[in-house]
């Protein structure tokens, strides 16, 4: 079979850009015809030539528009292209933004050319190659977003009522729904407010959702 993968490189450092291109073109299956030293140049060319690369190797630290900002623009012009970030920036914010913008891989610049080629293949096969420290960051961010707090020791009844609050029901509606007097619901609400240390329905709802209390 004759696989053919088209790659473009967007990287402002001339040396690294050329060495990436060279490394890629050593492979028979993977081909790099175009490289760009800025996001603007790449966007112009892609728009004009209606270029649809399989893979875009993208640096973050670019002159003018940075790599992260570039991702949505690239995806507009060529939605099927997979984007692999290759950068020195491994801080949470950049990683977070790149992933949310839709990058398919996140590699650091210390990588050998063999591993970069392997990563391109992985992405083409539906994978998401990542530097293992980046992966750790992603895992930690992911976990932190999904920890269920439990520190307020709400009773089951209170959790039940809190979740109805979050659904937008009034005291009266809650009372009807779970067959209680509205006085009882009121009483539960006060206890909930006390435990959550809030003084309004709004704050309780915010806290419940943001801190994943249910």
């Amino acid at each position: 079979m004759n696989i053919h993968i088209d790659v473009i490189v967007i990287e402002d450092n001339e040396l690294f850009r050329d060495s990436l291109k060279e490394a890629i073109n050593k492979s028979s299956d993977i081909n790099c015809k175009y490289t760009f030293s800025s996001g603007e140049a790449a966007l112009d060319f892609i728009a004009k030539e209606e270029l649809v690369p399989d893979i875009i190797l993208l640096d973050i630290g670019l002159p003018g528009m940075n790599g992260i900002e570039l991702i949505p623009e690239l995806r507009k012009l060529s939605p099927t292209s997979k984007i692999i970030i290759i950068t020195v920036h491994d801080d949470d914010e950049n990683v977070f933004n790149a992933i949310c913008a839709g990058a398919s891989g996140y590699l650091l610049k210390d990588l050998s050319s063999e591993k970069i080629l392997a990563s391109i293949i992985e992405v083409m096969n539906g994978g998401a190659p990542m530097n293992s420290h980046i992966a750790k960051k992603v895992l930690n961010m992911f976990r932190d977003q999904n920890v269920k707090s439990n520190g307020y020791s709400l009773s089951e009844r209170e959790k039940e009522i809190l979740s109805l609050l979050v659904e937008g029901l009034s005291k009266k509606q809650i009372a009807e729904k779970i067959f209680l007097s509205h006085h009882t619901v009121d009483s539960h609400l006060r206890n909930i407010y006390a435990k959550l240390e809030v003084h309004s329905r709004s704050s309780a709802i915010s806290k419940a959702i943001k801190e994943k209390l249910l």
Copy 2:
């Protein structure tokens, strides 16, 4: 220097368990003294012997308590141990639960013994080795959790007021904070409710947070 990494294996398949142990013990730096065929056996032994392994290789499909349920228990007994999942289960739910429970790596069983050893080293160095398809799943789940909806075409002013709502302020407080008449705030609120298609403050707040409107 003389690194020494203690590994235990929890895996019910005898063949795979033994082959893992053997592969690990071929390395001079990494050592596997104990293996277990069930979570319960591992927990008992760890508790009794006060074992503190550096790495726990953990299967998901175990008899009795499954690997995911095991993670919190293992972390209680030996909080410093890093857990690497090695399994055939690559569905979203298992991946999600494993990560949230605090796994440091997620590998599939088709991996060569060299790569497993390399993964152990990576975890010891603070990384999180992951099968690239698993990584893709994590990336997708992560991205999906962080997409900002924008489909309600709220104006800037409305977003501002909505965010103050979420903070728990009353109309009067909002009015004072942004130097408006409370009538004006009321008016904005009604427009927000209309755009979000809700009829209460509670529902608006829930929708704003859950759908990441701010």
